[in-house]
Symmetry: D2
Subunit: 332 residues, 4 copies
Amino acid sequence: MINVAVIGAGRIGRVHVGNLVRNRLACLKAICDTQEQAGKRLAREFGTEFSALPDEIIQNKEIDAVYICTPAHTHVDLMEAALAKDKYVFCEKPIDEDFEKAKRFVYANSARAAKIMIGFHRRFDQTHLHLRETIHSRRLGQVEQILINSRDPTMDSYDVLTFTGGIFRDMTLHDIDQALVLLGPATLTGVFARTACLVDPAFAQRGDFDNAVATFWTETGVTCTILNSRRSAFGFEQNIEVFCSNGSASLNTPTEMTFTVRDQKGTHCPAPMGHFLERYHAAYETECQAFLEAIEQGKEFPISALDGLNALRLAEAADRSARLGQPVAIET
Amino acid sequence: MINVAVIGAGRIGRVHVGNLVRNRLACLKAICDTQEQAGKRLAREFGTEFSALPDEIIQNKEIDAVYICTPAHTHVDLMEAALAKDKYVFCEKPIDEDFEKAKRFVYANSARAAKIMIGFHRRFDQTHLHLRETIHSRRLGQVEQILINSRDPTMDSYDVLTFTGGIFRDMTLHDIDQALVLLGPATLTGVFARTACLVDPAFAQRGDFDNAVATFWTETGVTCTILNSRRSAFGFEQNIEVFCSNGSASLNTPTEMTFTVRDQKGTHCPAPMGHFLERYHAAYETECQAFLEAIEQGKEFPISALDGLNALRLAEAADRSARLGQPVAIET
Amino acid sequence: MINVAVIGAGRIGRVHVGNLVRNRLACLKAICDTQEQAGKRLAREFGTEFSALPDEIIQNKEIDAVYICTPAHTHVDLMEAALAKDKYVFCEKPIDEDFEKAKRFVYANSARAAKIMIGFHRRFDQTHLHLRETIHSRRLGQVEQILINSRDPTMDSYDVLTFTGGIFRDMTLHDIDQALVLLGPATLTGVFARTACLVDPAFAQRGDFDNAVATFWTETGVTCTILNSRRSAFGFEQNIEVFCSNGSASLNTPTEMTFTVRDQKGTHCPAPMGHFLERYHAAYETECQAFLEAIEQGKEFPISALDGLNALRLAEAADRSARLGQPVAIET
Amino acid sequence: MINVAVIGAGRIGRVHVGNLVRNRLACLKAICDTQEQAGKRLAREFGTEFSALPDEIIQNKEIDAVYICTPAHTHVDLMEAALAKDKYVFCEKPIDEDFEKAKRFVYANSARAAKIMIGFHRRFDQTHLHLRETIHSRRLGQVEQILINSRDPTMDSYDVLTFTGGIFRDMTLHDIDQALVLLGPATLTGVFARTACLVDPAFAQRGDFDNAVATFWTETGVTCTILNSRRSAFGFEQNIEVFCSNGSASLNTPTEMTFTVRDQKGTHCPAPMGHFLERYHAAYETECQAFLEAIEQGKEFPISALDGLNALRLAEAADRSARLGQPVAIET
């Protein structure tokens, strides 16, 4: 049994708590949040201890692994503390809002990097895995263009969005990670991004954007274009199409039901499936299992801190490009 | 150049006139209809002669081929007259309302049968052809069940429907012909059919039905189920699915446009394409070309009078089954 | 907490055991199977008691409710014993292989009928529920034709199929129940069914069939056509389309993934989702919750013994029609 | 009757010749091509006169209108000559390879501009028209992002491509015109484009590209992203999706047939419909009709020389951006 504590009792913390409680490899020992009310409620709901002090969790020798589900700017400090106590760490993306801080942390901790797994849940989705295998098998030939379209169904509450580090580090980051999975790290060497505030002026007030289009490219001319929006009236959407020399492979958001009404106005099907929590329900479960299994079996984690850093480097560059109005070269 | 006359200036006559005028192998010599007004209008529109007397057409030595597009009960008499004058005949389905009369005609004229082609336009549709090839290639294995669903978008005017010979001889007949194309003639040996009047009491008043379900079967247990309705609020529909031992092949009605709107209520696509005239526009053209080419090149017609009789035999049996409330064996 | 025992440790028993263990309202007290090995294995896996004697379970006063997951011919006897001890009963379909026996049981126990729920899991599937609501709302007008197509991906092992009571009582029964849900009980008054053995002669050897087509009808002319096959090379399939006066509503089997490959040969998508256990995973969970919730809150069960009897009556009539080669009237 | 001559007997000239011959408003008087062989063959095929000298056509007082279907760099000179003789001009896109030359021509001829129609055939496609209406009706709210994906099925022969003016002026130009139709002229004020040669080095040798991604933007933050490739293993594709504040509208390339095979490997559908000539067959017919009808009825042409110039301005800017590696502001 692996004793686990979860730091951060927000939306995503709750997902991990649920999966840990159901997983036979884990024993959930504590939930921690500096906001006592939310933390206590979650702890009570799942019948576990509560602590308001992250340090208390980290000092607790009984605990083998911590989940870090707090705002992005706290990740690096918490990881450092946890690593110092030799704990396994599951850290939500991004590593940090600040790319330089994240870089220093990853490079300084390369010896201990094997103890960190970053949470890119889509990597555990069976359709994303199938896309990856299809592309890597080369049966469709060489990749030429990638098109990724990710849209959020409704604006998330500002309390959540305040701590995201902006649209590129929050939304685009997942799409970038998928591009890197498909193309390989250090392949994308430049980016041009364009942004706008079309949904809500609140984004502009925080120096953030609610619409973004970014095109990344490799040395050899392969491009990856990502469209993002914080508003999708028709529901959550996450699509990828990879155009290759011999064909294309694509994944689309499943609909809630395979149900069709036909009438005088045409054919009508239900909207896509909920938000990302419903869409990636099974992926989060598999991610949890992968983290615990790797610890139990002494295997390498499937997603490293370096993976997190690589994606963040590109998100950072895209953000810079959008603000400069110029293409940005990506250091590799 | 083949000199052609069209007898019958109704809806389907107009389709054939249009195709003949555009075809380089044909010269349209005359349009004939006992209803002078409609016939004259059509003749004027396409710049050809008009005659109110079918016999005048048939006696005309200049004319090589006639299209018979009149009500079903007149087909056999017109064909006999035309064959007596050694003309090529394109006859709309069914051969006749009365199966016995049709049978006597086909058997009595077997020596001259090579001069007759029956109009099953769907046989010239590229998707139907592709289905046929797929099934005959046996790459999906043995046929086990066939499901055909044909629905008319709106009730055709009563003037048209009066002369159809009822739902089985008019609508189901086309579906039966497709089943015979897929399975081979003389394979279906029994039928049970069930009918209803759900759309309009006018059908019942004429002793006809507006809804029908018929299941045909072979000696070896293969079934073919046909659903028909005179009402389809969502538009014209003609679908076939053939379930085989190693898979299934299906054809569906194309939509008018590949256009999609997505909003809060879901995904919306346009209705299917028009009525059968729009859906089978190209098939009617190819049918015309096939008729003329066979004459010009002295080849066999792709659809014989016997094909027409085979389908009518099954339609007749289905009608009998529906009226008796009992399964009916099909003579072969 | 409701103390539950599961009698029958086969494929479906395992599904219910899993759901009961995860449900907070239930406490799984015992698993019972006359086949000791299978029963003990399941009991060990889920950490519960094992009994080889159904009677032991039924005599156990601690147990509030029993799940009957044994072969169909044992259902009535087990239900009678359980009712005699005043237990709640969840009984898998069909009530019994023998319609007359099932009828006597249901009529004799009408006073205690409220303690029985029959397992028609599809009723708890969200897409089936949505179809039901859509049709009952009348927004598509009157129902005219129903088309149901259910195909099993591979032949189940003979050990399972021996006890099913044949294709109509095993497969078609679920489709019939859906038709009754859509149309209302006692609406279908006649049936004609046609069967074949095309997949494996083993079915014929047991007096069973592996292919079936049945058309049911109401007094007013509405039809319900059901296609079944024990073989579906392309995977599990369960589709319903309801044709109404103002449109149609349909449900289809979801595919395993929303993934598409396009190449020179066309567009390729994955096969449908697994077998019924994968497809109806969530429905089985909801069914379990519905059973337990009704007990806890003293509410009526959503599916009664009479529902089970109504569906069995129609399956019985379809089987009779197939064997007689004649339509069969259904007593109501 | 409008007397028409077609200058340029290549692939697209042949399309227009076919439509003119079938159109009742036109009388095709002559076909002209400096390459005698091709020109004579086409003239013979359609039974019309041939001339090897464009000037002969233009001097011919009998001719009311000319179709200019020659290489792009000859368009302006031919239009000037034709306008000088007061003829109506249908000119294929682009107005010219050289934007500055095109601009001088359009501005210098503003008084006679009403006699010119530019050939953007997609504007006459019913699905594109439906998209336009849907967006302009505002029922989906404000446009936020446009995504256009156009891919050619096979490399066109170099003889054709030599004269196109490059991927942006040849392929992207159509997509740009659609964006302008949806957004309005003079809305797009900047562009960043990225190109590559991934398909064939022959493109690079001519200073051209075979892959391109361009993002255009408006002052208010709306973006239009266009993906192009000269290679599409799965066939011709032209898709547009318009993301709006209340939903999205999209058009896709129709498949050749609505045909599906299902087997153990999944679901398989045919490839998209041919190349642009098959896909836009009806649009070219409607375009021809629109040109002739406007002349006959003295109405304004639906597409002006200024429309052609507006699209070319953006294509030119995209090309410049790709070559500079920098975003480019678009003069308006």
